[in-house]
């Protein structure tokens, strides 16, 4: 029997995953430890060397490197390394060097493997690949959540009913009543109603209870009218294997109650709002409905506290950051849309068409709480300042003031439609972007980056799409512009000290904290944007942009997933902090005090910041290196 050294046991058991071990197992594990001292700068693990123990830093700190020699991680007291090697083939995967004079506990591999079999949670800790903690955390999150795992075809109640386009509406209504459904799919090869911009080869129609009421009864049409004349044709559809939340978001975005599911270009079912509501009792659809029903700005202001409540609920239900970001953006969007409608009611219909633009986080569908409004207007080519200027000034002021009162505070940089500078015709915007891209001035671009995240909210949204295509087409082929953007993306570094620890800043409440947005998600978004523009991606959402990069050779293998996980992790911690603040009745912000996090969270956070730091280094190398040599 081996001796017990209480100091070793106390130390080891304070850290994951050893805190999950029963006392007897812990004592047996600690009794078999070997101890080694390494002078600062000496090699602890050589790449390819054999390894027969999990290593734990007892005092000092170490640096873990990739095979390429690139720094991968810094570990301090209580953190472990060498797990990859022992789980794979007993050969060192990542070389490790002592950063300071370091004392290392070596726990024999055999003991670790024994414990993995014996204690499930202990085993889970070592179930990972490349980016360990982070990926595991992100996966855990997804597991807990129903909406991300359930496919939309699984929640629909029944097969759709199919009608021919020539059927009279009465017959269709009778059939729907008989079958107790609220919609019918209409089959018609001859339909030509698709817009030229959509290459939708499916082209069936759909009719709903609401259509029958509004388009037939209220319009006083004959009950013999063929469905062809009243059905909805330019269908918004979703693949039947999509997840419930994707369907929900699509419905929110387009404010529709029925969404046909397609597979192999055939409609296989229709998911209704009721289906989703039944599946997800608490959801943001209801809030969006509520927003759209408000008749006054005051009504909207009264609804605004529900934005935070919605986020709390979604976080509790285990939604991931992509879902929460999208839902928050859709809600923000609904506020804008309703405010624009109210403005048009007050000021009369617009004299010339316009497109209201969302910029920045809302356009990327990554909006959280504590966000300011960033928006702009694209005006019709027929716009004349002297004739129409006043109308759009009033419209923009109405919306921007309303948003401010609903909690979307004025943009401190003045990037708002209420600023005459940001009300331009499509041609005007194209010239403006051409100037930014062709004559890149890092200083001028410093505050312009959010213009490269853009989404049409209301009006002629097709202009927004045209403008995005124009921007992406130009940016892609302009290395000097990409280099300037890349340089700006390096301005905000992650808060990791040269040695190993977080670098804290004093926040608004005089507490030492990390700013997860300024030092985390925002620079991450900047990095991803540069790659996305270089690749010619039309996506605005950071995760979508990363998906678009997957096929390209722009990023080294594995980087995309790493960035995606890091982005998700940083966002989730940010969301959790905001939720915790709301629940404590405090004002949410974007900061976190590291001591309020668990050691696992701190490790995940460090890993995420390290990914960001590496991504910035890569960015510098990829886009700015060639510029320097000129």
């Amino acid at each position: 029997m081996s001796v017990e050294i209480q100091d070793i046991i106390t130390f080891v058991s304070a850290f994951e995953p050893f805190n999950n071990l029963p006392e007897a197992e812990l004592a047996s594990l600690c009794g078999n430890i070997e101890v080694s001292y390494y002078q600062a700068g000496s090699q602890i693990l050589e790449h390819g060397g054999t390894i027969d123990a999990l290593h734990m830093v007892r005092s000092g700190s170490v640096e873990v490197f990739r095979r390429t020699g690139e720094l991968y991680n810094r570990l301090e007291s209580g953190e472990v390394f060498g797990q990859m090697g022992i789980l794979l083939n007993g050969h060192v995967r990542y070389p490790v060097r002592a950063l300071e004079d370091t004392l290392v506990y070596r726990i024999p591999s055999q003991k670790i493997l024994e414990m993995c079999d014996l204690v499930a949670e202990f085993g889970d800790y070592f179930e990972f690949n490349e980016h360990s903690t982070l990926q595991q955390e992100v996966l855990n999150q997804a597991d807990e959540n129903d909406m991300t795992t359930v496919r939309v075809r699984e929640i629909i109640q029944r097969e759709p009913i199919y009608m021919s386009a020539d059927t009279p509406v009465r017959e269709c209504a009778q059939k729907m009543t008989e079958q107790n459904v609220t919609s019918a799919v209409i089959l018609d090869q001859g339909s030509t109603a698709t817009s030229p911009e959509e290459d939708d080869v499916l082209a069936p129609g759909i009719i709903t209870d609401r259509d029958l009421r509004m388009r037939v009864l209220a319009a006083g049409l004959s009950l013999e009218t063929p469905l062809r004349e009243v059905m909805t044709t330019d269908l918004i559809t979703i693949h039947h294997d999509a997840y419930v939340y994707e369907a929900m978001l699509l419905m929110l975005r387009h404010d529709i109650h029925h969404l046909p599911l397609v597979n192999n270009q055939k409609v296989t079912g229709v998911v209704s709002l009721t289906d989703i509501v039944q599946h997800e009792s608490q959801n943001s659809l209801l809030l969006v409905r509520g927003i759209m029903l408000q008749e006054t700005v005051e009504g909207l202001i009264e609804l605004s506290p529900q934005i935070g409540q919605m986020m709390v609920r979604m976080q509790k239900e285990g939604a991931n950051s992509h879902m929460i970001g999208t839902a928050m953006s859709v809600i923000g969007r609904a506020f804008k849309q309703r405010l624009l409608q109210l403005a048009e009611e007050k000021l009369g219909p617009p004299p010339v068409p316009y497109c209201f633009l969302a910029l920045g986080s809302m356009a990327r569908e990554e909006q959280l709480l504590v966000t300011d409004q960033d928006n702009a207007l694209i005006l019709s080519p027929n716009y004349h300042e002297d004739k129409h200027g006043l109308y759009f000034k009033q419209l923009a002021d109405f919306v921007c003031d309303g948003l401010h009162e609903c909690g979307y505070t004025y943009c401190t940089g003045g990037i708002m439609a209420s600023n005459p500078q940001w009300r331009m015709t499509l041609q005007g915007w194209k010239e403006h972007f051409s100037h930014w891209i062709e004559k890149p001035d890092p200083q001028a671009l410093l505050n312009a980056s959010i213009f490269f995240d853009m989404d049409g909210v209301e009006g002629k949204t097709v202009w927004a799409e045209q403008l995005i295509r124009f921007i992406v087409g130009k940016a892609k082929n302009n290395p000097a512009f990409l280099a300037a953007l890349a340089r700006n993306a390096l301005n905000r570094t992650p808060p990791l000290g040269f040695f190993k620890d977080f670098v804290l800043e004093i926040d608004g409440r005089q507490r030492y904290s990390l700013n997860l947005k300024r030092r985390g998600t925002a620079p991450m978004v900047d990095v991803i944007r540069v790659h996305a523009l270089a690749e010619g991606s039309l996506s605005q959402n950071s995760f979508d942009r990363l998906e678009d990069l997957a096929a390209s050779s722009l990023l080294p293998e594995g980087k995309k997933d790493e960035l995606s996980d890091a982005m998700e992790y940083l966002s989730m911690i940010r969301i959790r902090q905001q939720v915790a603040a709301l629940e404590a009745g405090e004002e949410p912000d974007n900061t976190v005090e590291p001591e309020t996090l668990s050691s696992k969270e701190r490790r995940g956070l460090k890993e995420a910041f390290q990914v960001l730091s590496n991504a910035q280094k890569f960015l510098r190398f990829r886009y700015t290196a060639s510029q320097k040599s000129l």
């Binding site: 050294i5 100091d7 106390t10 009794g31 078999n32 070997e34 001292y37 000496s42 300071e100 004079d101």
Partner: protein, 237 residues
């Protein structure tokens, strides 16, 4: 053969060992002396060490008793905790003062073996290994006294003294001026010596933990003082 008096050690360890094997000794002690001493070329990095620490009822080996013994085998690369030993020893002289220091109670000691039962085991574990202590006038003197009382034989061996290594190293580091002025060295106590090597502070002091602490200190001294290729004999005390 005459016993070496308190605090005196042989001038020539090789001669001393060969003299001892001639004596009529208990088997385990004889086996201890029969192990050849290290060759003069043997370097620190190629040597098997054993760090030893004791807790006692006082500082005087002739008056006080050993309460517990801890030892940990190691080499310049690794410390083998699995092979560590920790013995409590029953004693007649336990004062309430030393209870406070070591946290060992009378009850614990009542169940513990006597020193004469533990000594043969100690010989076996030290046999063939280079003994390492922090401050040689504790462990070696207490062991010498105990064996003399027990079987009236010499029990002596060359040690590496981490306190002595630390003192020498600090003196070398000192400026000439400080040396001439005989300026005091920083504390040589185990805890403070360890701090200088970024080694952790242990909280629960006992013979075993301190033996481990001593082993860690020597590992650190070997790399930080550049002793890797130094012949062990040159550091003998």
């Amino acid at each position: 053969m005459a016993l070496y008096p308190y605090k005196q050690i042989p001038n020539n360890w090789d001669e001393f060992y060969s003299e001892q094997v001639q004596q009529d000794l208990p088997t385990t002690l004889k086996a201890f002396y029969e192990q050849p001493l290290l060759s003069s070329h043997q370097t620190m990095q190629a040597t098997d060490f054993v760090a030893v620490d004791i807790e006692t009822t006082g500082m005087n080996a002739e008056l006080d008793d050993i309460v517990s013994i801890g030892l940990v085998p190691f080499d310049s690369r690794r410390i083998y905790v699995a092979q560590a030993k920790h013995w409590m020893i029953s004693s007649q002289h336990l004062t309430s003062e030393s209870i406070v220091v070591h946290g060992i109670t009378h009850t614990e000691l009542a169940q513990a073996p006597s020193l004469s039962e533990v000594l043969p085991k100690l010989f076996t574990h030290l046999q063939g290994k280079q003994v390492v202590v922090h401050y040689r006038y504790m462990e070696r003197e207490f062991f010498r006294t105990a064996v003399a009382e027990w079987v009236e034989q010499n029990f002596l061996f060359p040690v590496i003294d981490t306190l002595e290594l630390e003192a020498q190293f600090l003196r070398q580091q000192q400026s000439l001026a400080s040396r001439l002025l005989k300026k005091q060295l920083p504390s040589l106590r185990l805890l403070y010596a360890r701090e200088r090597y970024n080694l952790p502070a242990y909280e629960n002091h006992n013979a075993l933990v301190d033996a481990l602490a001593t082993a860690e200190l020597l590992q650190a001294q070997i790399v930080k003082q550049g002793l890797t290729d130094i012949p062990v004999r040159t550091l003998w005390r």
